[in-house]
């Protein structure tokens, strides 16, 4: 989209959207939302960036960063699950694997919910961003998306 007004406002609003998404992801164990919802919001901010052609610092390595984000988030998830196995209580066990429970109602509580939520948030955000980016680009090679 070529509009200057839209691009300027988009650049301003982008940061607030991402903070909102991170807030939703971090407070998943206290209020509605969690990883998926927060990830969708941050993904929407990526869609905005692609749609309005907003230049940002990592744009040239966007393709690799999408792949890296998806894979590393799943690896973090699996490592958290393996901590449960290492503690002898089963895959993905929370309090029994001695993750710190914290005080109920504060952000840093409920064992591994916060790290898991953040991992899911980044994964979903990169998924939605990369899907939109793939569909919106016109430059494909041999009719196949040059991923």
């Amino acid at each position: 989209m070529e509009s200057t007004i839209a691009r300027t406002i988009g650049r301003l609003v982008l940061q607030f959207i991402q903070v909102m998404g991170l807030y939703i992801a971090f407070h998943g164990h206290l209020s509605p939302g969690g990883g998926f919802a927060g990830g969708t919001v941050i993904g929407a901010s990526l869609v905005l960036a692609v749609l309005l052609d907003i230049p940002f610092r990592g744009k040239s390595v966007l393709k690799e960063s999408f792949v890296l984000a998806e894979s590393s988030c799943l690896i973090v998830y699996v490592i958290i699950g393996f901590v449960g196995i290492a503690a002898g209580t089963g895959f993905l066990s929370n309090l029994s694997a001695r993750f710190p429970p914290g005080t109920p109602g504060s952000v840093l509580s409920a064992g591994f919910m916060v790290p898991l939520g953040v991992a899911i948030c980044l994964k979903v955000a990169s998924t939605i961003g990369s899907l939109f980016w793939a569909l919106a680009r016109e430059d494909t090679q041999d009719g196949v998306w040059n991923a």
Binding site: L30, S31, P32, G34, F36, A37, G105, V124, T127, I128, L131, A134, L135, T140, G143, V144, W145
Partner: protein, 136 residues
């Protein structure tokens, strides 16, 4: 008769979601435009999500967020919402994948209409038989 009207009014969420499901199903099957088929898929899945969410609602209950240990009032069932989150993510991935396939097909055939594509294929199939050996 009044019991039927009463039960329809009480279950109107389910009725509407069934109606939407049938509309989506019908769209997927009968319309020949590929984008409409994908829209039909989305309508169908949204209808099922509506069904699941409305099945979890408890009349006059609070949202399922506990203010503290003293809060024991009737809560809306949170499980259906969790199911639907997963379902929505699945529906998004399905739509994205289907759309990318449709873009590919459009690049190959120049048309978004399934009947048109079938016609083009038939004409090409008559021209070129399938049993010639294909070298690399």
């Amino acid at each position: 008769m009044p019991e039927m009207v009463q039960s329809v009014v009480a279950n109107h969420y389910y009725l509407v979601s069934m109606l939407l499901f049938v509309i989506g199903f019908h769209t997927m099957l009968t319309h020949s435009n590929l984008i409409k088929k994908i829209i039909g898929l989305n309508i169908m899945e949204t209808a099922v999500f509506l069904f699941i969410v409305s099945s979890g609602y408890v009349d006059g209950a609070k949202p399922p967020i506990a203010e503290g240990p003293w809060d024991r009032g009737p809560f809306v069932n949170p499980l259906p919402s969790a199911l639907i989150l997963t379902g929505i993510v699945i529906a998004v991935s399905l739509t994205a994948f289907a759309l990318s396939l449709v873009i590919q097909l459009y690049k190959f055939y120049g048309s978004l209409d399934a009947d048109e594509i079938a016609r083009i294929r038939l004409k090409e199939g008559e021209r070129q038989s399938l049993c010639e050996t294909r070298q690399h």
